[in-house]
């Protein structure tokens, strides 16, 4: 059986599940950030799969351009998230997500 787009999509789905679980279940905000990175990469694998095995009427490499923009956005997101975590750590002395519950009534 040759490797096709279904293989890449299943791999992408597995990675996405792992990322969702980490985002929901971990207490440390930095670990949650790492789980978000896993989810970005799951999407990128799917996009590369579509570029490689799918059919695009616009350009065969459109999926790769999308993946490139996802990497760019992820870099910006990580920079901002790290700045916010440092700020939260300075104000509250912790980055455990369940202790940063100021908005809770």
């Amino acid at each position: 059986m040759t490797v096709g787009i279904t293989h890449l999509l299943v791999l992408s789905a597995l990675l996405f599940i792992i990322g969702v679980f980490g985002l929901l279940a971990r207490r440390n905000a930095i670990a949650m950030l790492m789980s978000v990175e896993l989810m970005f990469n799951a999407v990128n694998i799917a996009l590369i799969g579509f570029a490689r095995f799918g059919y695009s009427s616009v350009h065969p490499l459109t999926g790769m351009i999308f993946a490139l923009f996802v990497i760019t956005v992820a870099a910006a997101e990580v920079a901002l998230a790290v700045a916010m975590l440092l700020l939260a750590n300075r104000r509250h002395g912790t980055v455990q997500a369940d202790e940063l519950a100021d908005l809770q009534g």
């Binding site: 299943v10 969702v20 790492m34 490499l61 760019t72």
Partner: protein
């Protein structure tokens, strides 16, 4: 050019295994290193499916730059390295259930729609020469506007990160007055101790702190 199934399964196992380690491992530094391994293996996968430019970008940015930021965040936040207790919230079985549901939806969509889209493959010249030249060309022609928007986004994120991470003036002033008050108290305390010691050294007097009350 087809992908070797054995190679694909080995790479996929490594990716899923290291991703699971990122989520499950309790020590956050180990999780960060596992994340580096996972992102590197994904770059290898890109190489295996013939996305050479993306593989380079993945390893440079994702396996190189982003983990550096994350490890800096781990270093600079107190207590996240030596935190006792489980790394999971109490409701983690519910989180597992939700993620399984999400996965069921995704896999269901994949199973239902696998015959809907048209299958294709790279044109032969892309397989022969690699994708870098073509990616560069269409990035600066057809996708020039998103490219410029992405640069504005990066600039905005850079400025935002600096604004967030730098101490604002009110905070700095508060810390300054705090430090001054601490210093004043320290000086007063030392003076008091000196006087008490001097009085204790004088015979016939009883060392007392009562008459220093105006200093506090």
């Amino acid at each position: 050019m087809t992908i070797n199934p054995v190679a694909f399964y080995i790479i996929a196992t490594l990716i899923v295994g290291s991703a699971a380690a990122v989520v499950v491992v309790r020590n956050i530094v180990h999780a960060a290193f596992s994340l580096i391994a996972c992102l590197f293996f994904i770059g290898v996968l890109y190489l295996a499916v013939g996305a050479d430019f993306l593989a380079a970008a993945q390893i440079l940015i994702y396996a190189g730059a982003i983990p550096v930021l994350i490890i800096f965040a781990i270093m600079l936040t107190r207590g996240s390295m030596t935190r006792a207790g489980s790394g999971f919230i109490g409701l983690w079985p519910l989180a597992g259930l939700v993620s399984l549901g999400v996965g069921a939806v995704i896999l269901g969509v994949v199973a239902v729609s696998r015959d809907v889209w048209r299958h294709g493959t790279y044109p032969q010249d892309l397989l022969d020469s690699g994708t870098t030249a073509t990616v560069g060309r269409i990035l600066l022609t057809r996708y020039a506007l998103p490219f410029e928007v992405a640069s504005v986004l990066l600039l905005a994120a850079l400025i935002g990160a600096i604004v967030l991470a730098r101490r604002d003036e009110q905070e700095a002033a508060m810390e300054r007055t705090d430090a001054e008050r601490r210093e004043r108290e320290e000086r007063a305390r030392r003076r008091r101790e000196d006087r008490a010691r001097a009085r204790a050294a004088r015979p016939g007097t009883v060392a007392t702190l009562d008459d220093d009350a105006e200093e506090t």
